[in-house]
Symmetry: C2
Subunit: 270 residues, 2 copies
DNA sequence: GTTGAAAAGTTGTCCGGCAACATGATAAGT
DNA sequence: ACTTATCATGTTGCCGGACAACTTTTCAAC
């Protein structure tokens, strides 16, 4: 392995400390952390830990450049990342300042931390919270076009099942349509945000399995029940139907070993 | 006003188009958009609109530099911002690629877009979704220490009210404690994320008002009811108590003019 | 056709410089 | 003494070039 030939000591050390002998293999999965990324992570940590408080001024770019032994370019890219997160705001000629409520500016779920069954249960519980009331709100607020859209979603699921497909994507679309029918775009956005964490991509490419046909039919019946309650404008019934629909999948995962890796989890539940 | 003396045409135009005559006044509130920020916004738009799809490669830094008439530094800072958002990932020697599910990587609420009463109702509805089930889950899962913590929160609120203070912060602490008692850290994090949008900073500095004393006592009684249901391990009762607690404040805002600015909204509701 | 090295292209980092802006100190004027 | 204008200094925003590290393509040798 070739050593870097001409570089400042700090930069060389920063690289050597992470890339000399970590056999990560393919770079796609574990991208090499860059100097800018490392610095951004460190600054983020300082803020999250509260050592830099709201309104505080960060060290100047020159000070950081010297302190970390990197170029000003790297410092600026790191700060650009923090600005994108809303953690800091910069004022030309004055400095960079920690934003108000910097600790909770964005809500993010780290997919890398989502490894065990217990982690998935947490996401599913959060989803359940949203969808229960979403169904109730939809029953209260859904307009004619929203109901038509729901009807269309149900038909698409039925068609897929008839073709022997698991209809994973169409299922989620139905749930998103309910969120849309609440008239609250925030709820729609949040459910779509949670989606990918509950439906990992491998599941989307799952081949149809004959033994799940009965299961899928049962699921579709639950969908119909939810739809019926929404059409009737009955929030309580909608909530109950949605709970019945989601709680069963949740129970499956709650009963499974909590530290089981996600690969061996039960089939798409809902 | 002095004209810039020597600069590339593109950069000069970019500046002139926004800063020549906009009398924003204090820069703290409306920070001047930077070139990097503008480019980042544009690229984000391309991705959100779906014109750049997952897995697609972005133009090279050199191409963007030429296309937008800015320096490579600006391009790199813009990309650094996108990387921080998880919208793209870069591979040295290869290029920058749009991430999977790039459209919903982070959940963020733009405070600037939160201007009317209708906007606030949306956030409150989202909060209600979470807190209903949080109360139910807390009733199911709360341990001894969590219950003690809840008790402590109630006492702190009572003390503040006795001192004639509105106890806004302590109130929210109580709600966060319930979220903590669910044992689901995701729910805790999300409620804390929503907090600042429901409790704007001016409210925290509100002076005590005598006429709200009776109101505060009533609110505290509702808190006690929620606490009682959780202690008894009764999820249904906890949900009902929480709904009663939150729904009233929500009703106040729903009945208020939907396009009313937030300044004239009803007092802290819950 | 396979292999291996060279070449070209791309991102990561460094450097120096200037413009734009903010802030405090200083000097001028009242 | 107080206000106002000016200047010096420090900071961020932007530019351009350079090289290192890495990836992909090309192409020659086998």
């Amino acid at each position: 392995m070739a050593m870097p030939r001409s570089r400042t000591a700090a930069a060389r050390n920063a690289r050597a400390s992470r890339s000399d002998s970590d056999g990560y293999g393919p770079r796609q999965l574990r991208p090499v952390p860059s100097l800018a990324g490392a610095l951004a992570a460190q600054l983020t940590g300082e803020i999250q830990a509260g050592r830099l408080q709201a309104g505080d001024r960060l060290p100047t770019e020159h000070q950081m450049k010297d302190a970390f032994g990197v170029s000003r370019t790297v410092v600026r890219e790191a700060i650009a990342a923090l600005k994108a997160d809303g953690l800091v705001t910069s004022r030309q000629g004055s400095g960079v300042f920690v934003a108000q409520d910097a600790r909770h500016r964005t809500f993010r779920i780290n997919p890398d931390r989502l490894t065990t069954n217990a982690d998935l249960v947490q996401v599913m519980e959060l989803r359940l919270c949203i969808e229960l009331e979403a169904a109730a709100l939809a029953a209260r607020n859904a307009g004619k076009t929203a109901l038509q859209e729901l009807r269309r979603c149900l038909k698409r699921i039925a068609d897929e099942i008839a073709r022997g497909q698991p209809a994973v994507e169409e299922d989620f679309d139905f749930h998103c349509c309910i969120a849309d029918a609440t008239g609250n775009p925030l709820i729609s956005r949040f459910l779509r945000f949670l989606g990918p964490f509950i439906i990992p991509r491998p599941l989307l490419r799952m081949r149809p399995q004959r033994q799940t046909q009965a299961y899928l039919a049962e699921v579709q019946a639950e969908h119909e029940a939810i739809y019926k309650a929404i059409v009737e404008g009955n929030p309580t019934a909608a909530r109950r139907a949605m709970r019945h629909h989601l709680e069963r999948g949740l129970a499956l995962n709650r009963n499974a070993p909590q530290d089981a890796p996600l690969a061996e989890r039960p089939p798409w539940p809902a």
